[in-house]
Symmetry: C2
Subunit: 342 residues, 2 copies
């Protein structure tokens, strides 16, 4: 799932270059790292990318060894439920009865081997049972920006039944979750058979699957236009709200592999050191401040807890606790008509 | 006096482009504004600039209508006492018995007409009496970064006798000065006859005037080399410490013309709004923060009391209360050998 338009990483991310296509953690983009991480257990030909039409060309450029037809374009962004419907219907048409994992393309994972072991455990359960298997992350802090999964009866290995999906909690509740140890972070990663997810979607979101099935049933030359027309009328809804919170009988595999959704500059700062040439960063009494720069010299004097993001045409100076408000800058730029910076 | 090397306005000021040569408050440099401000009362031919040899060419370029010989070069920076000795000896050789004012070239003055009226009052006293006449600034805040002048018996107009020169006070003492109303800021501006200042220098700083007089007595072709040799051995000392604090019988004219020594980015921020294209500055909850930018877009989110200075090759993010420490960045750059940024 590489559909994000990501305003939270402005000014590094732009409309044409959303977060998943950015090399935020090294030389490779998050998307490239996500694919790379899977290669020891998934053949290239079986990796599908769903992205916005505007980014399909960039995705193909970044992944030149993937078959071009494995990059699926959405004509309009409609959140994860339509994205997964399109993926499941496409996979089902190419490999009936397949089991697959769906992964966000813009997450960071420190321990790729542990991640793959978790995925294989989830895939095994999904292949064996007609249920959705989600991957939960053992919380390392009382995060209020994530949804949580309440863990039910243990099955085997690191797998258990899901008791409930819990929306983003208050800070106090998140602290209880962490100390009690019965909750995991909802990572948005799932394993399921195509028939499992399609049954769930047909039951809970027929407004998504019915027009999409109809569009994909058209002759191949009419399909893109039909899909575009269908997408415009689809609800924009996440798989979590639209399906998972209503689904009985969901399994969860507990993962512990240094996961981050890299959801903001602050999240990135927490896992990355300053990027760029450290010889060109001069901090003078700048505790907990982080610089993301592309080569210009950046000096900080007496400013704690600040994140500086320097790009050729735009500069962001943001308090670490306020990176969620970077989108307000993007909104303001749009309001002023400064589209070159969007 | 345009001799400053100014590291406090890094990254805008550099070795080759010190503060007085920078257009910090508009399109013209502080030096150009200082000269412009005098033109209604001083003919161009009678305005002399003393600057460091490295900056003489830039000074002449900025002031093309001044006679080239009115730009005096110092081979080494030695603070204000040697600078004023060179100026006084040069003026005395060209116009014996002249009265002159000596002014820093890097101050900002809001009310030029009031400033000129104050200068004329000081010049009248200096021409009439063989005493130094300084200009004191009525304090508007308990500044601890300035020297103060304790005012003695009133003479006439805005002129009084100086009771004492007071070094930079503590905050508590500065507050007393402001409320009691008997102290003025020491602006570093003076009026005097050449004979007056030379008598004072000969008495208190013969180590300055004796070698300088000897060098200037050489035939004209040997003079630059002789002056360079002499300067290397001169003490580096200010006119305030070297002369004024020992001088009896100094007068002060109280001035009230919106003065600032523009001594730091914070001082500049206090008198200037953001510079550059305000359409390209996007503050989101950034109280009392000021941006000095050259055209790039600058966005601030949740950072109060910050000064951002953006230049093509270097960026400074500095707390308003810490602008005195900008020199530590310059020191660190020198230590790292990053001379292109100096």
């Amino acid at each position: 799932m590489a559909g994000g338009s990501g305003t939270r990483f402005w000014p590094r991310s732009r409309r044409r270059l959303p977060k998943q296509l950015l090399p935020v953690l090294g030389r490779r983009s998050l998307l490239q790292e996500t694919v790379e991480r899977l290669l020891p257990i998934v053949p290239r030909g079986q990796i599908l990318i769903v992205t916005h039409r505007d980014h399909a060309a960039a995705v193909r450029r970044q992944l030149p060894t993937l078959p071009a037809r494995n990059v699926l374009s959405e004509p309009v962004a409609r959140n994860t439920a339509p994205c997964l419907a399109l993926a499941a219907l496409t996979i089902e048409s190419r490999a009936p009865g397949a089991t697959f994992v769906s992964l966000p393309a813009d997450h960071a994972i420190a321990d790729a081997a542990a991640f793959r072991a978790t995925l294989l455990e989830a895939l095994a359960w999904a292949a064996a049972e007609p249920v959705a298997v989600t991957i939960g992350i053992r919380p390392t802090a009382p995060e209020t920006g994530y949804g949580y999964i309440e863990v039910g009866p243990r099955l085997a290995g690191r797998t258990a039944r899901v008791r409930a999906f819990v929306e983003k909690p208050t800070a106090a509740r998140a602290r209880k979750f962490v100390t009690a140890g019965r909750h995991l972070w909802n990572s948005g990663m799932f394993a399921w058979r195509t028939s499992t997810i399609l049954t769930l979607l047909d039951r809970h979101l027929p407004a998504v699957t019915r027009p999409m099935r109809a569009a994909l049933a058209k002759p191949i030359r009419q399909r893109p236009a039909a899909l575009a027309r269908a997408y415009r009328r689809l609800p924009s809804i996440s798989i979590d709200y639209g399906v998972m919170e209503h689904a009985r009988d969901v399994l969860v595999v507990a993962g512990d592999f240094g996961w981050s959704d890299v959801g903001s500059w602050a999240a990135l700062a927490a896992i990355a050191r300053d990027t760029g040439d450290r010889a060109r960063i001069v901090p003078v009494d700048a505790a907990r401040s982080v610089v993301f720069a592309d080569g210009r010299l950046v000096a900080l004097v007496g400013v704690d807890d600040v994140i500086v993001v320097d790009t050729p045409d735009a500069l962001l100076v943001c308090h670490r606790d306020r990176t969620q408000d970077v989108r307000r800058v993007v909104d303001e730029l749009a309001r002023r008509g400064l589209t070159t910076y969007l």
